[in-house]
């Protein structure tokens, strides 16, 4: 499903600027849950959106920035800008970064059944990012940075 993003009525939005640190994931998740509750998503759908956003942000810090920022590399790790949007019949979360980006379409999705068959303990993140939401798109290198947009329909 690819929801039509044209002619959306923005009911409310919040923007977070967070450093490239895993310790900030909690604040991002809490904000996602608050917006989802306000928009009327069921707790189950909100938990899926929460997990998709958390895995996305952790992936971006790890792969697009190559890890958390330190006092030495802060200039090259400007962090994440996160736009939380309640629009018409959906909740959208845009995650923008200024890292190296990655090839979103070519990222391998490991299905849970395959994941359980092998011994690899990592690799489920992309499955969650792409399947726990109704639409996931990635635009590298826009004027605002690399943009991962996750959309969850309210009903």
């Amino acid at each position: 499903m690819s929801p039509d993003n044209d002619n959306l009525f923005i009911r409310g939005s919040v923007t977070l600027h967070v450093p490239c640190k895993y310790s900030y994931l909690r604040i991002i998740r809490q904000s996602v849950m608050d917006l989802c509750a306000r928009a009327g998503l069921s707790e189950f759908k909100a938990a899926q959106m929460e997990m998709a956003v958390d895995e996305s942000c952790a992936n971006i810090i790890e792969h697009s920035y190559g890890g958390e920022s330190t006092p030495d590399n802060e200039a090259k790790h400007p962090g994440l800008r996160i736009n939380l949007i309640h629009a018409s019949d959906r909740v959208m979360v845009e995650i923008l970064d200024r890292g190296a980006g990655f090839n979103f379409e070519e990222q391998q999705i490991i299905e849970p059944e395959k994941y359980l068959e092998n011994e690899n303990e990592r690799g489920l993140g992309m499955f969650i990012i792409k399947r726990f939401v109704d639409d996931a798109t990635y635009e590298p290198d826009t004027r605002a940075g690399n943009c991962l947009r996750l959309t969850k329909m309210i009903r």
């Binding site: 909690r26 849970p112 359980l116 489920l124 969650i128």
Partner: protein, 115 residues
């Protein structure tokens, strides 16, 4: 939403790991260290008290599955107890309930180990 605390309580040959808060990429190293310490000291029978668990990432779930697999090779197991519906829904959606034993309570998990 709180940061995750992990407390280990020994009850005979079973260790109860009490998780409180969110298990994400930030708290994951703490979980990994705790599981490695249990494995190194050959403690292979573990119950995870999930009643205070608010969030769990895919990496943390992967580490738990890895620990359960290795424990079973050593005649042990890792059982999850007291999961909230929100966490259970995610675990079920990923199909992990088929590989991790999930019990209603710590007492029920203890009883499973006694069988």
């Amino acid at each position: 939403m709180r940061e995750c605390s992990i407390d280990v309580e020994e009850q005979g040959d079973v260790d109860i790991l009490r998780l409180n808060g969110s298990l994400d990429a930030y708290s994951f190293p703490r979980l990994e260290t705790t599981l490695n310490q249990l494995r190194d000291s050959k403690r292979h029978r573990v119950i995870l008290d999930c009643s205070g668990l608010e969030y769990i990432s895919s990496a943390a779930l992967g580490a738990l599955i890895g620990f359960a697999r290795r424990s079973r090779e050593n005649k042990g197991d890792l059982k999850m107890a007291g999961m909230t519906p929100r966490i259970y829904n995610i675990v079920e959606l990923l199909g992990f309930h088929k590989i991790l034993e999930i019990c209603d309570s710590i007492d029920a998990a203890m009883e499973k180990f006694r069988q």
